[in-house]
Point group: C2
Chain length 228, copies 2
DNA sequence: GCAAAAGTGTTCCTTTTACACCCATGC
DNA sequence: GCATGGGTGTAAAAGGAACACTTTTGC
């Protein structure tokens, strides 16, 4: 009576974003060690084990393949076209992740022959439908940053205002008036101004700031909307 | 060498929304015919066949279980907690769908003992984690309607302006000034005003309107943003 | 002619944009 | 002392919110 369903395998993939003010937005890719697409760059990922959550699978695979631990992880979309993997039917739950600059170091391992950061403007050819996944992730990040304070996940804990500003300019792909941006962002009341100043670099050193997570959640509970 | 992965089953579920001005937003649920949760209301859905796309699986299951055909379908989120199904590990790709009032008629079939519309304010107890899925779908719909013109998928092809207005009031859960709303919406330039007037009903009959999809996509291509 | 809903315009206020000058530091 | 980037305020413009009166229909 029960219909016999041929099995479908399930994997997770993760688009990991990093940011450096002078290099822009980068994505962590691995070079595949096995066929199909052996030697081609791909988004890290792998099979989900039967007793682990999807998020756990993502974190585990990222650690195994690239040695990285991310500080922000969110589901992006599930890709399930019958022919997206040439071997067999695979449904992949894609995530995107953000990492802070101080854990930028990666080391290839496991199924990866290499692991490297690529600027999102200069991507190599990608395996499977990973180009499409990556594009969707970039689109999502651009959007997300406009209505949720996720940008901080790409910055150091303490950062000069100019880095936040540059991050938004980079993601929006256009110039944003420095003064108006600062006015608006500060008026949200979710940044702590620190006593420290930014050392090194040219010009007048600016004060450092820190994201005030508690304040943000207080305001959010009150129904105040982040929008930038 | 290859690790043996115990299999995970994959299903699709669909939160189907309908709207009637005097009844508000409703959701289509089915009464389960089998265990687990036999006799409990649930979101329609089922297993994905190995050679069909996820969207196809959703449409097929909806047709089988409830007899309905939807005119808008979008992926919501993938739920994959190890214990979300008491029998075995199941990852479910959830969708949400919108139907127009004229195909509101449903007939239970297949695995469903019953299929009924429930107002989203008066939901019964639901099987599995379906309450959570439904809440997420409602949240998503509320949001979506603010930045994409999906509201029309819940209205008849020709509708009086008041219905569009009421739909937004219902979803936003608050009053919206009728005149400002109309001014803003019409200024988007994506509505065709028809010669026909709304027949029946109380008060002065209003003109009927129609969503101008072509115009919308033209404007979208130009970078003009829908926001209401 | 009364109740109900639709059509329409103006004013006020808030938010956004545009823009310029001075200040602190490194070399 | 000069180049570089940081800090700050104001005025004009645009967009959003508040609001009232007239018109068309059914009963």
């Amino acid at each position: 009576m029960a219909k016999e369903y041929p099995r479908i395998d399930i994997t997770v993939d993760a688009v990991v974003f990093g940011y450096k003010p002078d290099e822009g937005i980068s994505v962590l890719l691995i070079k595949r060690k096995k066929d199909p697409f052996k030697g081609t760059w791909a988004i890290p990922g792998g099979f989900v084990e039967v007793d682990e959550s999807l998020e756990h699978a993502v974190s585990r695979e990222l650690k195994e393949e690239t040695g990285i631990e991310v500080n922000y992880l969110e589901q992006l979309y599930t890709f399930g076209e019958p022919k997206r993997d040439p071997r067999k039917r695979i449904v992949s739950v894609a995530y995107y992740a953000l990492v802070k600059p101080d854990i930028y170091e990666v080391h290839a391992a496991d199924d990866a022959e290499g692991a490297e950061w690529f600027n999102i403007e200069k991507l190599p050819k990608l395996a499977f439908d990973h180009k499409y996944i990556l594009e969707m992730a970039i689109f999502r990040l651009r959007n997300k940053i406009s209505y949720e304070p996720v940008g901080f996940e790409l910055l150091d804990k303490h950062f000069p205002f100019s880095e936040l500003h540059k991050l938004y300019e980079t993601l929006y792909g256009k110039e944003i008036d420095r003064r108006n941006f600062k006015k608006k962002f500060l008026s949200l009341g979710i940044l702590k101004e620190l006593k420290e100043k930014n050392s090194g670099g040219k010009g007048r050193p600016g004060l450092l700031y820190q994201f005030d997570k508690d304040k943000y959640f207080q305001l959010k509970k009150k129904g105040i909307v982040f929008e930038i």
